[in-house]
């Protein structure tokens, strides 16, 4: 058994020693009381891949609206609004179905996304005020 293969084979045959029989009860007595139902829907959303994809999609939409002045200039304001709102609603719907959200949770997510969109939009439309008086 001087070869690596021989040593590996022998080691593969060894058995592990087990902890004492009462350890399970001791561990669960100490750990189980710490287990509580503390998850909120926002935890689920935050740690879900669906949420990250949805957030990325919304960011892409927002960036697109900001970065393409020709389109922005030619697209009527209401149409921009409708497009963004439709995208947000679709993402919220997809997220809600992936995470089995209730209607209320889904509405909250959509409202939050819309709030973010409106904030971005306001920021973009507000004129930059020059402290010396001009725009």
């Amino acid at each position: 058994m001087s070869t690596h293969d021989g040593i590996e084979r022998r080691l593969g045959e060894v058995r592990l020693s087990a902890p004492s029989a009462d350890l399970r009860a001791r561990v669960l007595a100490a750990a189980a009381p710490l287990v509580e139902r503390r998850l909120t829907w926002s935890d689920r959303v935050w740690f879900s891949r669906g949420w990250r994809v949805a957030a990325a999609s919304v960011i892409v939409v927002l960036l697109a609206l900001n970065w393409w002045p020709p389109k922005r200039a030619t697209m009527p304001d209401a149409e921009v609004n409708d497009t963004a709102r439709a995208t947000i609603a679709a993402e919220a719907e997809r997220l809600a179905s992936e995470l089995n959200m209730t209607l209320e949770e889904r509405t909250l997510v959509e409202e939050e996304l819309l709030r973010q969109f409106e904030a971005q939009r306001r920021q973009r439309l507000e004129p930059v005020v020059n402290p010396e008086g001009g725009l």
Partner: protein
């Protein structure tokens, strides 16, 4: 990223724990406690300390709440906690188990007397290895953990974990050869 079936099963159990399911914690214990306990022993902990380290791992897991959802691979995570707990205990005690690996490995009972002796030699030789090399060998060979996961557990690169494994095996081989030649010359 590469999630095995066992990883997915463990992740689901951890999610259930996060959702308040205590039975899921018991299932996780049944699946991993023995391996975690062995890992602690291989690092040089005494049996009682190894059990405390296992308990510490599950207590920590149970108290994490929503943060549990961020764990993609629970098994290496549990090993990490046990490892940190054992290292901490060894530092505080400034002493290790009197004989490394005492009680950590049971020699398989099915073989003949010669093979039994050979395996006992092997276990003794394992005890002479540096802890990091012994850990890499036993986690990989006995527990079937990949080098990538061993790297994660020991906070080193995959390459370093694999190197520790290879160097450990080489050293083990040399130790066994010298033991063999010693016993032959004693017989002669």
């Amino acid at each position: 990223m590469d999630l095995t079936r066992d990883d997915r099963r463990d992740r689901d159990l951890v999610r259930r724990v996060a959702d308040g399911d205590r039975d899921a914690l018991g299932t996780l214990y049944d699946l991993h406690a023995e391996r975690l306990f062995s890992h602690a022993l291989w690092l040089g902990a005494r049996r009682a300390d190894a059990e405390d380290a296992v308990q510490a791992a599950f207590v920590k897991l149970a108290g994490m709440g929503a943060d549990l959802l961020a764990i993609r691979k629970p098994r290496p995570y549990l090993h990490q906690i046990v490892r940190a707990a054992v290292i901490d205990m060894l530092r505080k005690q400034a002493s290790r188990a009197e004989e490394p690996l005492a009680g950590a490995i049971l020699v398989n009972g099915g073989a003949g007397p010669d093979e039994q002796l050979e395996r006992r030699d092997l276990v003794r030789a394992l005890g002479t290895l540096p802890v990091a090399q012994r850990e890499a060998i036993l986690l990989h060979l006995v527990q079937g953990i990949t080098f990538r996961e061993i790297g994660r557990i020991a906070s080193v690169s995959t390459f370093t974990a694999a190197s520790r494994y290879r160097l450990g095996l080489e050293r083990l081989r040399r130790t066994l050869i010298s033991r063999l030649s010693n016993s032959r010359s004693n017989l002669a």
